[in-house]
Symmetry: C2
Subunit: 205 residues, 2 copies
Amino acid sequence: MERILAAAWELADEQGLAGISLRDLADRVDLRQPSLYSYFESKHALYDAMFAQGCEQMLEGIHARPVNGDARRVVKEMARRFVALSVENPARAQLLFQRTIPGFEPSAASYAIAQRMFEEGRTRLASVGLTKDRQMDMYTALIAGIVAQQLANDPGGTRWTRLVDEMVDMYLDHNRGNGSRNEAEARSPKASRPRAERPIERGGK
Amino acid sequence: MERILAAAWELADEQGLAGISLRDLADRVDLRQPSLYSYFESKHALYDAMFAQGCEQMLEGIHARPVNGDARRVVKEMARRFVALSVENPARAQLLFQRTIPGFEPSAASYAIAQRMFEEGRTRLASVGLTKDRQMDMYTALIAGIVAQQLANDPGGTRWTRLVDEMVDMYLDHNRGNGSRNEAEARSPKASRPRAERPIERGGK
DNA sequence: GTCTATATGTGGATAGAC
DNA sequence: GTCTATCCACATATAGAC
């Protein structure tokens, strides 16, 4: 079962997340294709298990970073770690943060893990005074952009990952004053957020 | 032929880029599936035509923006336009800027259009003094992150697109001094880029 | 739990008449 | 250029013996 998931990640890495076939997967673990149905009742169930495992891996990776100390250091370490984890396993990043598998939605249980992962990030930011939704959204966009560009345009390289520190510096400089109104909002007050709180990175339609 | 491409975009929008089937596509334009082979010699050729058309649309959209004037205005207008074009047609953004179709690489001719699009952006940035590769990379990451988050976590909404102006302000504030050494590089000189110039947003492996 | 055998569906692509 | 007919590969999923 562990081996099945491990093989699934291998396949996803080689042929893309959607490119996993139960035949290939069965071959990897020396089973016949129908035997997989003893472990997963459908292919989506396999994705769901991968989703849950992927969330746990990200959660561990980020949780292993310090919470206290210099704001810049805390945020940078989280960012570096998150980017590294995403880039080292593109399929995982794709499964967790994009919407590429038609029809797949994580189960409630798996989704709960994703929420914990997201809250972990929110907590880190809050611990350095970045408590607003808008600040969190800017942060996730920053990180997501680095990961997206790295994976799409320089897979295996470091062209964008090496920008993490500077991007975080830029972000923290911009949010100097931590949590209070920042320059941009002072400039255009109407831009402040009317939206309802969104608990997790996967709301939407 | 125009109608075929239009129908292809429709399908891509509804079922995902990879979800286009030649059967469905033929139905949309009242043809039989094999008849499409009079227009495209393969499915990849269809994607290639879509790629070229998508590039042209982006190019037009960005080209229609002013080049001269206030730096903030020029960069913001380009960013807004780019983000709007990406978000309004997710399939196009996916085809042009991600690597999701297994085995698909644009033809040389289509790729040339992509280069022009990229150079258009580079020119705009250069016109306000942002001439370094590193600055361009940060800019593309910024924009890509907004688009990625918007599409993945709030499709149809404006949760991240509304951050464009603030993100650009943050970016330009950080790069105050236009083209000269910025704060982060002054801080860690070793971080400056040893890499060779990369001409276009799709190098990599 | 694992197997063989098979159902059932969907792709892209080709042959050849008109 | 468009059609009918068909090929062939591959997918997920199920039935039922062991």
